[in-house]
């Protein structure tokens, strides 16, 4: 299948105090129609910037962006605008992303009118009703005339999703879309996103720092793990969760506590060589993770930047030179003892 969007060698940097900060480096990512892909990583890893580039809100500094297999530049202006509209973003904070002075009806009505998605006021009303029903805000009559402050966080996030759906997108980037709502109602929002995906044939890019949530949401999809502006591991969610290959992914999965006392207390931890995340202005040479990696191989990991590639024994793609060369990872801990893993 032709990917709905493809990033080829995408770099993005921002300038701060006249110093360029490389936020994304050499991102290669191809997203199939109707798939679910999760971008996971810690703050500053570039997951949100990647999401914004996919949603068309940021331009890459260099590298290529392809829609439906063709470079963006090969489309006419009008076509580009149309494609942009097909990619929508749902923000993290439903308290900040809805205009407090507008009613829910207005919030959904503006894009519908602006993009001439409906005809006449009866058509507008019908479409708003339809959208609210789609996100389970029923009966819609109770909601349309309300202001955002009269809704709960979960309801507001549903309005955000309905707003993204106004322009009939094909792809939705959900950036930490459930992080601010209570644990007890997150699952219902995720289930709704799943349903919408199936019903409308949407492609979902889900950005989160919560690995358990990523696992649940993208169980039938893929996960891309990011670290300091690069994708370090990508593959089917089930493969990565069952057998993470990249030492960073291993460290993340080992570090997550679980809502199961016996299991979480007997988890095998991976001790890093350093707790400090390097600054983006001072990214270590070679593999950016090597100063923290318990398995690093001097002379190899600090010399060359690893690209994503298949590694023996794993189904996913991993950017780790020792693994790519078929070496066994050996940890050196503080006491100088080595343990084979």
């Amino acid at each position: 299948m032709t990917p709905i969007i493809e990033l080829r060698g995408v770099h993005r940097s921002f300038v701060k105090d006249r110093q360029p900060i490389p936020v994304l480096q050499d991102i290669n990512l191809s997203i199939e129609p109707n798939e679910i892909i999760c971008l996971v990583g810690e703050s500053g890893c570039g997951k949100t910037t990647t999401g914004k580039i996919i949603a068309g809100l940021l331009e890459p500094s260099s590298g290529e962006l392809l829609f439906e297999g063709r470079p963006v530049a090969s489309y006419s202006r009008a076509e580009q605008t149309k494609i942009r509209r097909q990619h929508q973003l749902v923000h993290q904070d439903p308290f900040a992303s809805l205009n407090p002075a507008h009613t829910i009806g207005d919030i959904l009505g503006f894009p519908l009118k602006r993009h001439q998605m409906v005809e006449g006021s009866a058509g507008l009303r019908r479409r708003i009703w339809e959208l609210l029903t789609m996100v389970d805000l029923t009966p819609p009559g109770d909601i349309v005339n309300k202001f955002p402050h009269q809704l709960s966080g979960g309801q507001r996030q549903r309005v955000s999703i309905a707003r993204a759906l106004t322009v009939q997108p094909r792809l939705i980037v959900a950036d930490e879309a459930v992080s601010m709502v209570d644990v007890s109602i997150r699952i219902s929002l995720l289930k709704m996103l799943h349903e919408l995906r199936a019903r409308l044939g949407l492609t979902m890019v889900f950005i989160t720092h919560d690995l358990a949530l990523a696992k649940y949401f993208a169980w039938e999809g893929r996960i891309a793990v990011m670290y300091l502006g690069r994708i370090v591991e990508i593959g089917r969610t089930q493969d990565i969760i069952a057998a993470p290959a990249h030492p960073y992914t291993r460290a993340l999965l080992a570090a997550v506590p679980e809502a199961d006392p016996e299991r979480t207390r007997h988890k095998q931890m991976l001790t890093l060589r350093s707790d400090d995340i390097p600054k983006l202005t001072d990214i270590p040479p070679g593999c950016a993770f090597h100063p923290r990696c318990p398995y690093h191989v001097p002379g190899l990991c600090d010399a060359a930047i690893p690209a994503l590639a298949a590694v023996p024994g794993f189904a996913q793609q991993t950017a780790c030179l020792p693994l790519q060369q078929g070496m066994t990872l050996v940890a050196t801990d503080a006491s100088g003892d080595t343990h084979a893993r």
Binding site: D182, S184, I185, I187, P261, E262, M269
Partner: protein, 344 residues
């Protein structure tokens, strides 16, 4: 925990807190009772608005002016065995109690540190207020900073903005132990930090607890963190403790429908494909709470009796596991079916 329980350091009896609002009284905490033992970590879990932060503020008597606390007492036992009721403390007694007997670690590490003074000055100021000299304070602080895996020399010289979020959280943890309190209250200390930072804070906390043997009241909405560090878990709903017991009892043998529903809404990394369910509805109105069991409108186990009669807190197992649920037998059976120890 051991078979013979450690002595009780804090005994909360029938504590209620209400806020004055335009529409009426908001009953934020309703007749809460529990005992905190020496060296024990008690996790208070629940959703936003369940009263856990209000309870925390009541325990350190830092409630806003619009709030009123009432109850039979918050009885604190000093190291020498003396007992005192916090509810009767005046301001001076309270100032002496805080930090020296009970300290706090709040959620926003940046907001808890004075941005215009160095960490060392915070140490000296706090110590001075409790009659401890500079040299002694410095020595204690250096040792604690080392225990939380920071570079003591560097951190003491630093202003808060020069430290990362994870470092600041560890500085707060170290500072909270400066006067060797018996109790540390932590309000969501690992919320809004990255995974590996959270891991290092949890590890440091576990290690400090083992070395210094203080008690912890840990307030969180994160079930996974509670599962990892708590000895005892209390679930709060609508201002009440609806279930409390040893961590394994509460997680594997839940007896309250709300606890089980919360657990069934939390994804677990190692569990493969999971059948999860959100809790329907929304948290109850605390001004006009529902009749009977306050959870009944959202409960999958609801029966007629739940709608009319408030369930009492009843002791189960060896008496350490308490739950206030009419349908505890059915909840327990459902918990058995889905949550066995280390189930695959």
């Amino acid at each position: 925990m051991n078979d013979t329980p450690n002595p009780v350091v804090l005994s909360v009896r029938d504590l209620s807190v209400s806020y004055h609002a335009q529409r009426g009284r908001v009953q934020a905490v309703n007749r809460v009772s529990f005992d905190l033992h020496a060296g024990e970590t008690l996790a208070l879990i629940g959703e936003s608005g369940c009263g856990k932060t209000t309870l925390n503020l009541a325990l350190i008597r830092q409630l806003p002016k619009t709030a009123r606390a009432a109850g039979d007492g918050i009885i604190y036992t000093y190291r020498d065995g003396r007992q005192a009721n916090l509810l009767t403390f005046n301001e001076r007694e309270m100032r002496r109690y805080l930090w020296a007997e009970c300290s706090m670690v709040f959620q926003g590490a940046l907001n808890s540190l004075n941005p215009v003074i160095r960490i060392s000055d915070m140490v000296y100021d706090t110590a001075y207020a409790h009659g401890i000299g500079r040299a002694d304070a410095r020595e204690r602080a250096m040792r604690l900073l080392e225990q939380v895996r920071l570079d003591p020399e560097r951190v003491m010289r630093s202003y808060p903005h020069e430290l990362s979020g994870g470092m600041r959280q560890r500085v707060l943890l170290a500072l909270s132990l400066l006067l060797r309190p018996q109790i540390v209250i932590m309000d969501e200390p690992t919320t809004a930090v990255d995974i590996l930072t959270q891991r290092s804070i949890l590890d440091v906390l576990k290690q400090l607890r083992a070395e210094l043997n203080f008690s912890v009241i840990f307030i969180s909405h994160d079930l996974a963190v509670a599962a990892e560090i708590a000895d005892t878990v209390a679930t709060m709903y609508a201002g009440e403790i609806v279930e409390i017991g040893p961590v394994n009892d509460v997680f594997y043998r839940s007896r309250h429908a709300y606890t089980l529903s919360l657990l069934n809404a939390a994804p677990r990394l190692s569990m493969g494909a999971e059948q999860l369910e959100s809790i329907p509805g929304k948290p109850p109105d605390l001004i006009e709470p529902p009749s009977g069991c306050k959870f009944h409108e959202r409960c999958a186990f609801v029966t007629d009796v739940c709608r009319h009669t408030l369930p009492p807190l009843i002791a189960y197992e060896d008496g350490t596991h308490l739950a206030a649920c009419h349908e505890t037998a059915r909840v327990l059976a459902a918990a058995h079916a889905t949550r066995t120890v280390g189930a695959q």
